[in-house]
Symmetry: C2
Amino acid sequence: MKEREIIDLLASLAPGKHSDLLVGIGDDCAVIRKNADQSWLVTMDTLIEGVHFDLTWHAAELLGRKTVAVNVSDIAAMGGRPLFVFLSLGLPAEFDPQWLTEFSRGFAAACSEFGCLLAGGDTVRSPNGIMLTLTVLGEAESGRVLLRSGARAGDVLWVSGKLGRAAAGLELCRLGMIGESGLQDLVQAHLDPRPRLELGRRVAQEGLAHAMMDLSDGLATDIAHMCLRSGVGIVLDAGKLPVSDTLREAARQLGLDPLHWMVAGGEDFELAFAAAPDRKGELLALGRDLGVPLTAVGNFDTRKGVRLLRSGQDGTGPVQEDISFAGFDHFPAGDNAKKI
Amino acid sequence: MKEREIIDLLASLAPGKHSDLLVGIGDDCAVIRKNADQSWLVTMDTLIEGVHFDLTWHAAELLGRKTVAVNVSDIAAMGGRPLFVFLSLGLPAEFDPQWLTEFSRGFAAACSEFGCLLAGGDTVRSPNGIMLTLTVLGEAESGRVLLRSGARAGDVLWVSGKLGRAAAGLELCRLGMIGESGLQDLVQAHLDPRPRLELGRRVAQEGLAHAMMDLSDGLATDIAHMCLRSGVGIVLDAGKLPVSDTLREAARQLGLDPLHWMVAGGEDFELAFAAAPDRKGELLALGRDLGVPLTAVGNFDTRKGVRLLRSGQDGTGPVQEDISFAGFDHFPAGDNAKKI
């Protein structure tokens, strides 16, 4: 049973409808009617010690910031503004109050930076490590909310920033290379990601895209979701994926192919959006205006799946490989997959 | 560092204000302005395996129901209607799909019963047992929301149902007495609690109370919160606390004082509310109408603390004992309390 199958099971058992629920399970946020012009956006994400973070290298203050950032990124992905956050904080019985103070400082600073407010939550004892669940309520103009489901054949896929940086940074932390000179921006991308709030707002407000989402589970998985929900497929051009010099350098030092991080690495929290080809000029101008690199990396079509186009390994012509859902999965097919 | 101190720390670091946030941290729900007449209620609660539930006696389907019920109870406590729920589901890598199917069935049935809809959430791998966090969005008429902070000296404290049943039921489960004949209603109270939605709605709608909350951490702790936030104190009359025959019988079999469960036992999810003395007749009529016992158990005054009035142990006249916050605390003063 894979992560998608769990979500499908839950969704199938709760098939009800409510006239104010404009978008339910399956997008970055649920969309709920607020009034005639505006909608609420609601997102919820959990970070678990040993799965999402490791305290040996994740300082409390940065973890506090990241807890807010990864959730706010889902609001950015719909083109919204975050307003209120709710934190469920699971702590071991013998937690260190100093740790909590530093975590809270980072958490509060991120809330302030992103314009949202802690409005409630829950505090519980967690017998095995720290557990952080955040719910964020945001808002957006109803006609301007960007869903995953709007991509059309013929659209171009754009991504912000560079890809694979957070996954490479995590690998550096794991290998004890957290202080490696020249590779700090990768480590920071993992420890202290920055959601693309302003970019998301502008793309949505200015009607520049048909669909948008954030990149949290790796391009291969995230774009597969966008394709599935939009009823389209895509060819990604490996040669166009935006790669940073430090990513190349880290890959060189570790003897790895940087493409793996860019395609399958999670937690970049960059935005990916589908736009008509004729919006290219406006998008490039917006990227320059915000100082955010925007790169066209693929073309949507009517075939199925996410296909990666790259040169053949033996130097022959380009080959296409289906990489749908090859990113991070909390429940990769294991024993339990056979039981249902 | 106790649970209240953790919450105070978080609140102190996030002191901002927003004109639409009518009630923030510290009540059963946050209250957010929806439109001129209505407010959103938002609550979040986490259940962790080994802390809040034990799978050896908690059947998956009932746990699914309880996950919804304990959160909906917070909406009931403000006089609201639950509308949308968001579930963060943490599962071990090798979870049993059959368990998940049964959990989901109970979860969906409870959503349907309480009139709410699963609208989103998150699915993550949890390395040490199951973790369930729910956020519920509800609504209420803005002028009718009942807070914890409205109790006044001179008010009477009312509670619904009987007290201490869930705590006694949990104790029976722990002792391997889950199937004990004649005590099943206590076990059910622990495994499958029922939020008092209709009662909460009616009390709020008909303006019968000044303050209301649900009983989740035990009367001593819950009412201490109500007193603190209302700037009042209370005398609880031990002789008036509503006790069920089965609770007396369980206490007799285990050689315990039923009063301990009634005062300090958590998870009853009954409602407690402060009402002017002259509402007695209307409240008793409402209780009869709904088939829910309502009992006046104490009187608010201007002194500090929650004081329990009972007969002296040596048969002398009644004595008062301060029991403020003597209920369940996830972080009872331990080593970490000395560090801050």
